[in-house]
């Protein structure tokens, strides 16, 4: 009964989706076709071959057919999708639109994926913290910051980033010393943030402030003394300390620190990590690095599951989950350490020449291919600036939304019930409030993910990446109708599908919403 209703709902929505796509593509096609002449520049050209080109382009792009009818020729190619033969037509240069898009999508995804994930994770966690510390200094500061980020044009931020994060940073790296003033400033800012998040009052507040300040200053000073910025690395000891920290943090958030089995199981993974520290470094020098990294990841997760299953007597699922999450983060730290280890080799190559942060482009073509770690670092370095810009712009929205949703959830009766039952604050927040906050957030995330494919037009332009945005730009500037429609077809379909998925997801996650009612 329920299943058939759901199926009917999906079918109905897919039907409307088709109609909408048809309508909007028809509109866009005619709007774009009627508003400009693709042959304008050729017609006024004095080149003797121009006339010939006009004739051949007219034939190839079927320009002698009026746009409303030409649209259906285009549509016939698109409908070939259902018989496994999608044809989006050719661009002005004769290339297939499908091929052009297929080569642009991975670039765009690479550009936007990390930024979206970062924006979501950071935005949601900060949003939730501000909700928990409502009307605190941290809350006010974050409100201001999110409004500021809302108001920033990305191209403006990009220029600033290029200047200060790339050019000035590279200059600084030639002699990496931090002045006393900068050291104090960084310390004050960091400790202000931490103490306001901690939300303690009175003496405890000053203690937190003081210790964070002292810790930051001493750490930075030591790092600069041992020339860490040119030869960074964690080493086995700090790697182990980081792993222990991860174990405690993940256990506390996931099942609570009182669950000793989960903690032990996570800590055992930290020990495994320490034992495997040097063997993995050796393994990372073999050929076929990509495969080895994947194999290591699988091995780590398997080890984590085994360790958890051995230790857990009861409540196995929660302990396995905690251990796997911890192991995942430990693996990330291990990769980070390996990248740091490669850093000196990376910046001393001729292609980099001690200026590691590039301002434009998506890869350094001068770099010799072959070394997995160096090309990964190069890729990451090219991603840094666009990622910071995109994250900064989009995470403000998540902060506001997560804060609003969390506050709403915290006012619900079931939260009061949970508190009245005497559950710990951690359980109330993580199990009752956080999970319910994720329901509306999940639908936004789905829609945002679909949007990222077509959504980075300006970023691509500023940072010189050749993805969907560049294609789209070229399409408009050269009146390339097929290319424009190809880009639109992909982004439009994705956006509508994501909306459908979001609706389904919402009704799956929240049983109060019924798919049958309304459309």
């Amino acid at each position: 009964m329920e299943g058939s209703r759901l199926l009917a709902f999906i079918m109905r929505r897919l039907g409307t989706l088709g109609v909408i796509l048809f309508g909007s593509s028809f509109l866009l096609y005619n709007l774009a076709a009627l508003s400009g002449d693709p042959l304008a520049d050729l017609r006024i050209s004095l080149d003797p071959r121009a006339k010939q080109q006009v004739i051949s382009l007219t034939r190839e792009l079927q320009l002698n057919i009026p746009p409303p009818i030409r649209y259906f020729l285009w549509l016939r190619g698109v409908l070939g999708l259902f018989v496994g033969n999608l044809d989006l037509g050719n661009t002005r240069t004769g290339e297939s639109v499908g091929t052009a898009i297929a080569s642009a999508v991975p670039t765009t995804v690479r550009l936007v994926f990390t930024a979206s994930i970062l924006a979501m994770v950071l935005g949601i966690s900060i949003g939730i913290i501000t909700a928990l510390r409502q009307y605190s200094k941290f809350d006010y500061a974050m409100t201001f910051v999110s409004f500021l980020l809302f108001s920033l044009p990305i191209f403006w931020v990009a220029v600033l980033l290029k200047q200060f994060m790339a050019i000035e940073f590279n200059n600084w790296l030639s002699a990496p010393t931090i002045s006393l003033k900068a050291l104090t400033a960084i310390g004050v800012v960091l400790s202000l943030i931490v103490s306001s998040v901690a939300g303690a009052t009175g003496k405890k507040n000053y203690t937190i402030f003081g210790s964070v300040f002292a810790g930051t200053v001493v750490t930075l000073w030591t790092l600069q003394k041992i020339n860490w910025f040119l030869e960074p690395g964690l080493g086995p000891i700090f790697f182990f300390i980081a792993c222990v920290g991860i174990s405690y943090g993940v256990t506390q958030l996931s099942v609570g620190i009182a669950n000793k089995t989960a903690l032990k199981s996570s800590l055992s993974m930290a020990v495994v990590g320490l034992i495997l520290y040097y063997p993995t470094r050796k393994a990372f020098t073999f050929d076929k690095q990509g495969l080895i990294v994947v194999a290591m990841a699988i091995l780590t997760i398997t080890l984590a599951v085994i360790a958890a299953l051995i230790m857990a007597k009861i409540d196995k699922a929660a302990i396995v989950r905690t251990t796997v999450i911890s192991a995942f983060f430990m693996g990330l730290v291990r990769l980070l350490d390996q990248l740091m280890y490669t850093w000196p080799r990376f910046i001393s190559t001729d292609a980099i020449n001690y200026r590691p942060v590039p301002t434009v482009g998506q890869a350094n073509s001068l770099l010799e291919p072959g070394d997995y770690w160096i090309s990964t670092l190069d890729l990451l370095m090219h991603l840094i600036l666009p990622t910071i810009a995109l994250t900064a712009i989009s995470f403000a929205g998540y902060i506001r939304f997560a804060r609003g949703t969390m506050l709403e959830v915290l006012n619900q009766d079931y939260i009061r019930t949970a508190r009245a039952k005497g559950l710990s604050e951690r359980t109330v927040i993580m199990r009752h409030a956080f999970r319910n906050t994720l329901i509306p957030l999940s639908t936004i995330i789905v829609v945002d993910f679909a949007g990222i494919i077509g959504g980075a037009i300006i970023t691509e332009r500023v940072f010189g990446w050749k993805g969907m945005g560049t294609l789209f730009n070229a399409a408009i500037n050269s009146f390339d109708l097929n290319l424009l429609m190809g880009v639109f077809f992909l982004t439009g379909t994705l956006a509508l599908t994501a909306n459908l998925v979001a609706d389904l997801l919402y009704s799956a996650l929240d049983p109060r919403i019924r798919t049958g009612s309304g459309a």
Binding site: I20, W156, I458, T491
Partner: protein, 355 residues
């Protein structure tokens, strides 16, 4: 936070709500709450100053009457590039100074070219003023048009439901499918030369989708409320119910989202102009100025800073006003806790402890 503290805060909340309900109309309550929002009040004053300054700076013509501006240059003037005024061999740097002479500065004055000159000597203050005029105009036109269209479509589909709702909402989906920046670029590229008003008009035609969904949702809930039934029983027409009963209750959400839409609109306009699809030369907008001079950031940074600062100040103040309005209209809104409240809470806590 201890429970007693919470309790006393709860008490001060209650007393505050009592004051609010005591003989005040809905709009009075909203106004009072809005005035209390410090960020919004500062922003509204700031925005008014910006708008006033920007629109009176250059000479303008209204119905053929020439109104002189307060600034001596226009964007067409080509004053000589001043050599030797600036340090480091720069040409055309900003001349204004805000550090008084007794603090070791040059004294407070504007100078010949407060924002400097661009590469061919045009006065940059005049350019930025014209750019800000254009951007503000586009923002307000988009805000007004999207506000009207979004409200009408959302109200109709939420009130009548059924087939009208389905058709209108599918139409909205249909507009949503076309990403704003794509439609903006197509429009801007082909119609940008028809002038900034036309561009704003077309962008306004496509900016209302989010608002109409919100309004629809609000109407769907409000139309089920008792006061609507009461009005209907009393014989009110649909028209009367919509305008006199439901719309006043939905006006908060509309105003708030229109302000947020406007802060998005200024960014959309600047982004389009940046891409070259918005305001086109010889006219300037804040976005086109940044796009034109971004390469000169290292040599003549002022060409980059000023338009950016104007965009940020305008968008930021609109955002804060929107936040203030949301707080003012939201009936569940708890007032921000002021120092006075904390003091009262402390007194109350002590009184409780002594009991």
């Amino acid at each position: 936070m201890s429970t007693s503290q919470e309790e006393s805060m709860e008490n001060s909340e209650v007393s505050l709500q009592d004051i609010e309900t005591e003989g005040l109309s809905q709009s009075q309550i909203v106004r009072k709450r809005f005035v209390r929002h410090r960020g919004a009040m500062v922003s509204i004053v700031f925005l008014i100053i910006i708008i006033g300054t920007v629109f009176t700076a250059l000479e303008s013509r209204i119905f053929g009457i020439r109104i002189p501006g307060w600034w001596k240059y226009t964007i067409e003037d080509l004053p000589e590039l001043k050599l030797g005024v600036c340090n480091d061999g720069l040409v055309g740097c900003p001349t204004f100074s805000v550090v008084p002479s007794f603090l070791g500065g040059d004294g407070i004055h504007l100078g010949e070219h407060p924002f400097g000159q661009d590469d061919i000597g045009r006065d940059y203050l005049a350019l930025v003023m014209r750019g800000a005029q254009r951007s503000l105009m586009v923002t307000f036109v988009i805000g007004a048009m999207s506000g009207v269209i979004g409200t009408v479509i959302g109200a109709i589909s939420g009130f009548y439901r059924g087939i009208i709702d389905s058709v209108l909402m599918r139409f909205t989906d249909f507009i949503i499918t076309v990403p704003t920046i794509i439609i903006g670029s197509v429009i801007g590229f082909h119609f940008g030369n028809l002038g900034v008003a036309f561009l704003a008009f077309y962008l306004g035609l496509f900016g209302w989708t989010g608002l109409s969904r919100l309004v629809r949702g609000e109407f769907l809930t409000l139309r089920e409320r008792e006061f609507v039934d009461a009005a209907r029983v009393a014989g009110a027409t649909n028209r009367r119910i919509i305008f006199k009963h439901i719309l006043p209750n939905a006006v908060g959400i509309i105003i708030v989202s229109v302000t947020l839409l406007m802060s998005g609109a200024i960014l959309l306009e600047t982004a389009l102009s940046y891409l070259g699809f918005g305001v086109v030369a010889p006219d300037v907008s804040l976005g086109s100025l940044i796009s034109q001079y971004q390469e000169s950031f290292t040599t003549r940074p002022w060409l980059f800073w000023y338009p950016g600062l104007f965009i940020i100040s305008i968008a930021l103040s609109i955002n804060f006003i929107g936040d203030g309005l949301r707080d003012a209209f939201d009936p569940r809104q708890r007032r921000r806790i002021t120092k006075k409240d904390r003091k009262n809470a402390k007194v109350a806590r002590k009184a409780l402890a002594h009991k």
